[in-house]
C-alpha cells in the first residue's frame, strides 16, 4: 500500500462516513453540514484525479452555493423539522434493501470490468483547464452543448425565482 493509496482510502472512508451521516442524522442542519463535509472529501478525490478545475468547481458550486442553499431552506422551514418526529417513512427498510442490492450489483459488475486494475496514465503536458476551455468554445467541439446548458441554467433560475417568490399568502400573486 503506497502513500497515495492510503490518502485515497482515508478520503473515501471519510466521504462515505459523512454521506451515511447526511442520510441518517435526524437533525437536518447537522445532516446538511455532514453533506458539506462529504462534498469536500469528494473534491479532494478530484484533486487526486488531477481534475483541478473540478476541485474549485466542487468547492464553489456545491459547497459554496448548493449546500448553503440547502442550509438556508432547512432554516426557513425549521418548524417542520422536529427532531422527535421520525425522519424516514414506512418504506425505509425497502429503500435500504434496494440501495444495498444496487450497490452490490454495481460492485459485482465492476469487479468483472476489464479496466478495473488499470493505473493512471501520464497526463499530457499541456494545461488541462485551457484544453477544457478550448473544447467548450470550439464550434466543432462542445460549443452548442455549452451554450444550451447556459441557456437552460438561466431559464431554470428565472423559473425557480418565479416559483419560490410568486406565492405570497394574502397578497395574491406577487
Amino acid at each position: 500500500v503506497t502513500a497515495d493509496q492510503i490518502l485515497f482510502l482515508v478520503l473515501a472512508i471519510l466521504g462515505l462516513g459523512l454521506a451515511v451521516a447526511s442520510v441518517t442524522l435526524r437533525n437536518l442542519v447537522r445532516a446538511a453540514f455532514a453533506l458539506i463535509g462529504c462534498l469536500f472529501a469528494v473534491a479532494a478525490l478530484y484533486a487526486l484525479l488531477e481534475a483541478s478545475l473540478f476541485v474549485v468547481a466542487q468547492a464553489a458550486v456545491y459547497v459554496g452555493a448548493i449546500a448553503v442553499l440547502i442550509v438556508l431552506v432547512v432554516m426557513l422551514t425549521r418548524r417542520e423539522l422536529r427532531e422527535k418526529a421520525t425522519q424516514t417513512h414506512r418504506y425505509a427498510p425497502l429503500a435500504a434493501v434496494l440501495a444495498a442490492l444496487i450497490t452490490a450489483g454495481l460492485a459485482a459488475g465492476l469487479s468483472q470490468f476489464a479496466s478495473f486494475d488499470r493505473t493512471m496514465p501520464v497526463l499530457p503536458p499541456d494545461d488541462m483547464v485551457i484544453r477544457l476551455g478550448d473544447a467548450l468554445l470550439d464550434p466543432s467541439g462542445f460549443l452548442i452543448p455549452f451554450e444550451a446548458v447556459s441557456v437552460m441554467l438561466l431559464s431554470v433560475l428565472i423559473g425557480a425565482v418565479l416559483v419560490a417568490g410568486g406565492t405570497r399568502p394574502g397578497r395574491g400573486k406577487g
Binding site: 497515495d4 484525479l49 426557513l76 499530457p124 477544457l132
Partner: protein
C-alpha cells in the same frame, strides 16, 4: 498507484447511500440531499473514466461540467418548489402535498 476500480467502487457506494437517502427520507429537503450525493457519485465516475481511460481528450471533463450545471439547476428548482410548498401548505413533507389527489 490507485487502480481505477477503487474510484468506481467508491462511486457505487456513494450512489447507494444517496439512493437510500432519496428514497427513505420523509422530508423533501433531505431527499434532495440524497439526490446530490447520487449526482456526485456520477461526477466521480465521469472524472475517473476521463483520467484513466482517455486523458488526451476533454469529453469526460465536458460531461462532468454539464453535470455540474444540471445539478445546480435541479437543486434550484427543487428548493424553489419546497419553499413554494412551504408557503402554501406549511409543510415540507411530500406526502402532505396532496392538492392534486382526486
Amino acid at each position: 498507484m490507485i487502480p481505477l476500480g477503487w474510484y468506481l467502487l467508491f462511486a457505487a457506494a456513494l450512489f447507494g447511500i444517496g439512493l437510500y437517502g432519496a428514497l427513505a427520507r420523509r422530508n423533501a429537503v433531505a431527499a434532495l440531499m440524497g439526490v446530490e450525493l447520487m449526482l456526485n457519485a456520477v461526477a466521480v465516475n465521469l472524472l475517473a473514466f476521463w483520467r484513466y481511460l482517455d486523458p488526451g481528450r476533454m469529453n469526460g471533463q465536458v460531461f462532468a461540467a454539464v453535470l455540474f450545471a444540471v445539478a445546480a439547476a435541479e437543486t434550484a428548482v427543487g428548493l424553489a418548489l419546497i419553499i413554494s410548498l412551504y408557503r402554501l401548505r406549511r409543510t415540507v413533507l411530500p406526502e402532505e402535498a396532496d392538492l392534486m389527489r382526486g
